[in-house]
């Protein structure tokens, strides 16, 4: 593994950890943006340029902004007085540690079967576009419908309540 991989992986993990651990929600949103950026760099290091730039556009450009909007609309930047962690935090931490140990055990056990360095796949954005409107055209259309429905649904759900309470 190259040193670049270790740097990017450390950045991504640090961003994820900071997002989960930081008390202030605005700081957590910034940290998760760092994690999203690190993931985009990991995609780029895996020669998946299209997915990497889609990750930057969708996550850093849209989802992170959406999270910041939600924090501001719910006054999430005020620190709660009675702590930020749930009272069942120990159980949650144990479940997460258990899941990680199982996943890491499975990966490390299967290392001999995993392929070594292979040739860089010769895939261009043109190939991806042809595949999207060729073999994958039905999922693409369903996805367009889903995105439209989700956007309208999110607006309707987040609209003011009808009884004039607000």
């Amino acid at each position: 593994m190259t040193p670049v991989f270790y740097v990017i992986a450390a950045l991504t993990i640090a961003g994820g950890l900071a997002a989960v651990l930081l008390k202030n929600l605005v700081h957590a949103a910034l940290a998760v943006t760092v994690a999203f950026g690190g993931l985009a760099l990991l995609f780029l290091s895996l020669d998946a340029q299209f997915a990497g730039f889609a990750q930057i556009l969708v996550y850093i450009g849209a989802v992170a902004i959406l999270i910041v909007f939600a924090i501001l609309l719910t006054r999430g930047s005020d620190l709660p007085q009675d702590g930020v962690f749930s009272h069942t935090w120990l159980i949650g931490l144990m479940i997460a540690a258990g899941v990680f140990s199982v996943l890491a055990w499975a990966v490390l056990r299967s290392v001999p079967a995993l392929p070594h360095e292979t040739a860089v796949p010769a895939v261009t954005v043109h190939d991806i576009g042809v595949a999207l409107v060729g073999r994958y055209v039905l999922p693409l259309e369903i996805l367009a419908l889903l995105l439209t429905a989700a956007t309208i649904g999110a607006v309707i759900v987040a609209m003011h309540e009808k009884d004039g309470a607000q």
Binding site: V20, S86, L93, A158
Partner: protein
């Protein structure tokens, strides 16, 4: 260690961090952030297997990751809309205080 195993370990660690965030934090927005991290780590697995798999020109892993990114964006929009609606109703985003199903 093969490069694929290193990427899979990073994805597993990120998944565990996201799961811990979703289970441990009290704020609903932080729970959504944890879920996003988990979805992203799954995408990293797809891309890594696509890159080191036997037939990268078939684009299956890449397509799965792209569709997964789009579905995750829709999920984030609906989830944050729900959080805003609940905040408007209950004046809190603290999940420990949302312990009744009656409106």
């Amino acid at each position: 260690m093969t490069p694929l195993a290193a990427y899979l370990l990073v994805a597993a660690l990120l998944f565990a961090i996201g799961l811990a965030g979703a289970l441990v934090r009290r704020n609903a927005i932080l729970v959504l952030i944890g879920i996003e991290l988990m979805l992203n780590s799954a995408n990293l697995n797809f891309i890594a297997f696509w890159r080191y798999g036997p037939h990268p020109e078939a684009l299956t892993g890449m397509m799965f990751a792209i569709f997964s990114i789009a579905v995750a964006a829709a999920e984030a929009a609906v989830g944050l809309g729900l959080v805003i609606a609940i905040y408007r109703h209950a004046q809190t985003t603290d999940l420990d205080k949302m312990n009744r199903m009656k409106g």
